[in-house]
């Protein structure tokens, strides 16, 4: 037994480790002992016991996924205004400007005198999920969602506007976003109103 003396004040617990077998014979003995000895059956028994008790801890992915905290930063979503259903994004371009990985591209144009975003895409192959875009967005339009499955056949992997935008018939299911880049709960108190003289 090579029990090391651990110095210092931390409360480390030294693990007891058997000496490694060095000769062929010793190795053979270890294999026989481990596979035919009680160690195997202990393991099997524990599994059987828990199975019989229906006490299963495994998450049944992909049928089942763990809930993620709202600040988790996975594939982006583009939100709509809850009242009108209009797109929140005004095409200000701050997200594409701030994006450190330079992976946002957008196309804007004039429609009925307003600026509209006709195309919007993020190259997830480049995105580092830093959250700058969500944080800079003045309209809470681009936010991070919780979709983290983005296996792809290529490095470049784009999500387009339609992939991210809340479908209009799912508007009711859109939750106000309280994750990364969202206004703080006491925002009303912090904000300084613009004076208006009418």
């Amino acid at each position: 037994m090579n029990k090391e003396v651990i110095k210092g004040s931390q409360n480390y617990i030294p693990v007891e480790i058997e000496d490694y077998p060095t000769t062929g014979w010793q190795k053979f003995k270890q294999v026989v002992r481990r596979s035919l000895g009680k160690e195997l059956f202990v393991g099997l028994w524990v599994v059987l016991r828990e199975m019989l008790k229906f006490n299963i801890h495994t998450v049944q992915y992909p049928e089942e996924v763990l809930p993620l905290p709202s600040r988790y930063r996975a594939v982006h979503k583009l939100l709509r205004l809850l009242e009108s259903g209009n797109e929140r994004c005004i095409g200000c371009g701050l997200c594409e400007k701030i994006c450190i990985a330079d992976c946002i591209r957008m196309e804007t144009k004039e429609e009925n005198g307003r600026k509209v975003v006709s195309e919007y895409s993020i190259n997830l192959g480049r995105c580092i999920f830093c959250g700058y875009c969500a944080e800079v967005c003045p309209e809470l339009a681009i936010v991070h969602g919780s979709r983290y499955e983005n296996a792809s056949e290529q490095r470049a992997h784009f999500v387009l506007k339609d992939d991210m935008l809340t479908p209009i018939d799912f508007l009711k299911e859109q939750k106000e976003f309280d994750g990364f880049g969202a206004v703080s709960p006491n925002a009303d108190k912090l904000i300084k109103k613009t004076p208006l003289a009418y």
Partner: protein
């Protein structure tokens, strides 16, 4: 020279310089909002305040010249406070709409608001109803306007249109078209360029891109011989198409003023790839004559020279040939190979004489220089031309309408007037009668000239294409040699001067011909349907020689998916070159990338010629038209980039004389080219000469460039407007 101190640094001011100008020259930063160097100080923003030791209160550095020994301080807590307060006031009621404002990212209000730490709007005023105004190519949003008046000053002092003004009224102040409800101007778009905020924007560009998405490509405008420096702003064609496209044109607003053709006529890149390379090569090999236009870079000229040398072909460019011969004749009497004036000389003149050009549309940069000479030095400007030009009314003191065709007589009279003790043997009475120039008018010119320190004569293409151009050129040579008048001969097309200098030109045309950006038996062109396509001038790198005799560079703004002239040459020449710009060093002795501030210097020439006596002057009766394009148009490329309907424009007098009424379709022929045009009465015109645009004629318009621009025509009415 005034010695003084800025922030402890000893500096010197030249005569007439302000504190701000000295500070900028010395690299000392003073914040400004309303100042731009090309117009006189506007002094509306007060951001440029500085402190002067021993002087109470602040001093406006943009309009105050320093006095000897003063100590100027550009920064102090009080100054910061003062400037911050100004920024707070600018932000009163300013809509917080940067997100949907075209200016965001390059907005001076945005920048200065951040610079002076204005975090929030603290005051407000009652908002007035001021709707967005649509002025064609320009859109004005009064609620974004900070009333700095840069646009007004620029339009008035740098351009000369004087088309907009400030309508006072506290918080309901606005910029409005002067004396009219709609904006009628030359559409140069300079007001858009100088506006520090998003109040004035380009209607076409609106919302098509955020500023930081665009890449700036420095280039030279290829539409006229001014060769203005500009930036093509380029971005991908669309979200799913990465081909670069030009979205807009910008300029260095402090030093350059563009015209509308340069600013809005950028979309002329060639996307066609007609023709087969092998055929084009063999056609070039077989050609007896290679015709080409001056819409060309110096490098391409050199390539054509070398092709011609190898194949034995002759190079023909009638327009530049005329110019070349004009300069040659000019040299025989002036003793110099080139004219001695520049745009800067024009700008600094006290007296300017313009002859033989409709300068406002022929070369807008020259017109701007004239405007500035008038604004800065109250220059006395005489404009000699058979056609009255109302756009110059604001600046020009003396309009002299000479008879069409009598240019030779006019220039002889001018030479006699401008040269003191000229010894010219002229029959003044006869010339004055035939040209219709009164002796008192000439007297005025000579009287003004005695007082004027800097004088410039601007000569246009009417004289170059004139039948008697050689003798005319000699008279001009005499003026340059024997008077203090500087001469500027406006090159007729983009790079006419380059062609005249470097092209080994011949006169006669022999079939088979190949045309390069001009019609030939086999046509190679960068526009439209032709036998073989090549890149347009915004898809090429190379150099031009501009009106100032400077060698200016242009770069590739958008790529071309095909072959260019160099590729064709490589198949013919013995020593192929990888790039077109490999020829730059052959011409100028420096590599393209290193080329900077190269100027063509006039060579001394033995004075060998003398002017001929002016013989009988021709007279033009009947219907006469003058080939002249509208403001935004110069050539097939501007026609491609900016849609515009060509009209035959005439005054009422012309309509009466030719029994035409507004809206009639007319047909006439100039040199085999048939024009069918709608006739429009233009009330700003006078006299019996109509203006006939040629920009819509495609490459065939180049045939007309070498012809005298006044033409007698037989006008045939093909369709009445139905009203009469």
């Amino acid at each position: 020279m005034t010695k003084f101190y800025i922030d402890g640094k000893e500096v010197t001011a030249h005569k007439g310089e302000t504190i701000l100008e000295v500070a900028r020259r010395e690299g000392i930063y003073i914040p400004t909002m309303c100042y731009i160097s090309k117009v006189s100080p506007i002094a509306s923003c007060r951001l440029c305040v500085v402190e002067v030791k021993g002087v109470d209160g602040f001093v406006l550095s943009c309009q105050t010249p320093p006095t000897e020994g003063i100590e100027v301080f550009t920064n102090s807590p009080e100054l910061f406070q003062h400037r911050q307060n100004i920024m707070k006031l600018y932000n009163v009621n300013h809509p917080l709409e940067c997100g949907v404002c075209d200016k965001s990212g390059e907005c001076e209000l945005q920048n200065k608001t951040l610079e002076f730490g204005v975090q929030s709007q603290e005051f407000s005023a009652k908002e007035q109803y001021r709707p967005i105004r649509n002025w064609g190519k320009i859109q004005y949003d009064p609620s974004l306007c900070i009333m700095c008046e840069r646009c007004v000053s620029t339009c008035n002092e740098a351009i000369g249109d004087d088309a907009i003004e400030l309508k006072f009224g506290g918080y309901s102040s606005e910029i409005v078209p002067k004396g009219s409800d709609v904006l009628e101007c030359s559409e140069c778009g300079e007001c858009i360029a100088v506006c520090p905020v998003g109040a004035l924007i380009s209607t076409d560009f609106k919302y098509s891109s955020n500023a930081w998405e665009l890449q700036q490509i420095p280039a030279t405008c290829s539409h006229c011989s001014a060769g203005c420096n500009l930036f093509y702003e380029v971005k991908q064609e669309s979200h799913f198409d990465n081909t670069p496209r030009i979205y807009r044109v910008k300029n260095d607003i402090e030093h350059v003023s563009l015209c509308g053709a340069g600013r809005f006529g950028f979309d002329f890149a060639n996307s066609d790839t007609f023709g087969d390379f092998e055929t084009a090569v063999s056609k070039l090999r077989e050609a007896k004559t290679i015709l080409f236009s001056s819409h060309i870079t110096n490098e391409e000229i050199e390539i054509l020279n070398q092709i011609a040398k190898t194949t034995g072909a002759k190079l023909v460019n009638p327009e530049a040939r005329k110019f070349q011969q004009f300069l040659k004749a000019f040299a025989t009497t002036s003793g110099e190979t080139l004219y001695n004036g520049t745009l800067e000389d024009i700008e600094n003149s006290n007296q300017i004489i313009v002859i033989g050009t409709k300068i406002a549309t022929d070369n807008p940069a020259v017109r701007y220089a004239i405007t500035r000479a008038y604004k800065k030095h109250r220059a006395y400007i005489s404009y000699l031309h058979p056609v009255f030009d109302s756009t110059l009314q604001n600046t020009i003191k003396q309009f002299i309408n000479y008879e069409v065709g009598t240019e030779e007589g006019v220039i002889a009279l001018l030479a006699d007037t401008l040269i003191t003790n000229s010894n010219l043997d002229l029959d003044i009475g006869y010339l004055s009668g035939e040209t219709n120039i009164g002796e008192e008018e000439l007297e005025t010119i000579s009287k003004i000239g005695k007082r004027a320190k800097n004088r410039t004569l601007i000569v246009g293409s009417d004289l170059i294409t004139h039948e008697k151009s050689e003798n005319i050129a000699k008279y001009i040579g005499l003026i340059q040699k024997n008077s203090n008048v500087k001469v500027v001969i406006v090159p007729p097309d983009t790079n006419s001067l380059g062609v005249a200098l470097f092209g080994n030109l011949a006169d006669e045309v022999q079939a088979p011909t190949v045309g390069y950006n001009i019609e030939g038996d086999y046509t190679i062109a960068s526009i439209g349907k032709c036998d073989f396509s090549v890149p347009a001038l915004n898809q090429q790198e190379g150099t031009f020689v501009n009106i100032d005799k400077k060698v200016v560079k242009t770069n590739v703004a958008v790529p071309y998916r095909g072959k260019n002239l160099n590729d064709l040459a490589n198949a013919i020449l013995d020593n192929p070159k990888r790039w077109t710009i490999d020829y730059t060093s052959e011409l100028f002795g420096v590599e393209f990338d290193e080329l900077q501030d190269v100027e063509i210097v006039s060579k001394m020439y033995r004075v060998s010629g003398d002017v001929d006596e002016v013989e009988e002057l021709p007279s033009f009766d009947g219907a006469v038209v003058y080939n002249s394009n509208p403001f935004l148009q110069f050539n097939p490329w501007t026609a491609k980039a900016i849609e515009e309907k060509p009209y035959l424009l005439g005054a009422k007098q012309f309509a009466i004389a030719n029994k035409l009424s507004d809206g009639d379709m007319v047909r006439f022929e100039i040199d085999g080219e048939i024009f069918i045009r709608e006739f429009k009465i233009d009330n700003s015109l006078k006299g019996v000469i109509a203006l006939n645009p040629i920009f819509d004629k495609g490459l065939r318009s180049y045939k007309l460039l070498s012809k005298y621009r006044f033409q007698r025509v037989q006008i045939e009415k093909v369709k009445s407007n139905g009203r009469s």
